[in-house]
Symmetry: C2
Subunit: 198 residues, 2 copies
Amino acid sequence: MSKADLGLIQKLREISGLGMLDCKKALEEAGNDLDKAIDLLRKKGAAVAAKRADKGTSEGIVHAYIHPGSQIGVLVEINCETDFVAKITEVRDFANDICLQIAALKPEFLAPEDVSPEFLAKERDILAEQLKNSGKPANMLDKIVEGRINKLYSEICLTKQPFLKNDTLTVEEAVKELMAKTGENIKIKRFARFEIGA
Amino acid sequence: MSKADLGLIQKLREISGLGMLDCKKALEEAGNDLDKAIDLLRKKGAAVAAKRADKGTSEGIVHAYIHPGSQIGVLVEINCETDFVAKITEVRDFANDICLQIAALKPEFLAPEDVSPEFLAKERDILAEQLKNSGKPANMLDKIVEGRINKLYSEICLTKQPFLKNDTLTVEEAVKELMAKTGENIKIKRFARFEIGA
């Protein structure tokens, strides 16, 4: 049985409201896995909330945009390192620009790594079929498919889209510019876009 | 090969911008499956957007709420039958009440049918373990577990939560009341809740 981590004991006490010893024992039994320790305590009857332990630590803001007519709405979370930077005008303006971007350009994913494998497989299949009778040499086809997939990313992935406010940059590059301006690590953590009838 | 459905041909023409005959042929090949017909057209090189066909038909509104301090944000979509009802004050007010409800009561799912099977299995496991040494007769245990699961739903599922504005009703019942008032079928279609550090 491993020794319980002191920081985790503290965290578990905050979450569960239980005493030091109970938390220590649960963490030791769970090999310092916080979620597992919570499950163990709950199995023993502790009234720990069924919700997952909040592991986030970053600062940031949540921003929304409702397009006039209320048929399109966007919610976005921007993370940064300090509460101070979260409150400055540049970050708020950027959050608003990103909301407008999402409303207008309808990204389906945050970044290429978020594109579902099924979606990608289907796209590759369609591209391969389109190119089959193109007469292009086989060794070029892979490169063409890759090029087209990258083009697809620039349409469906927010970070790869041209930044609407200044389309000499991608959204990814605009984030980097904001990082340089504020001196902090900044990222777009997540977004939701709802449209009536879509 | 099945005969192409006229309504679908029209829909496919709108989506693809292609002529009647191409759309008819694709739909026949695809057995009147719109998504499949789009894939077939794309494989033949038609410049149909990679996005899924928009099948929604309902009216409604998207509404957002940002809690002061911008650490919590909520986006909600309410559907109804007509554009007229979507615009009335009662529906707007209800959308706002639901946003406040989601911000405060943190539902994780829209309704019991949206709770993931893994989440449910884990909860059942924990409840069974808690009750094992309770001394209760075996034929009562199932009922107790069901009762606790229903209690859990009233915490984590939006439709089963007490309605904050008037907690003699559940959210589900508040929707029904609004349906009676407007004479239209109304539903909460989806929501997103972002909280910094959560």
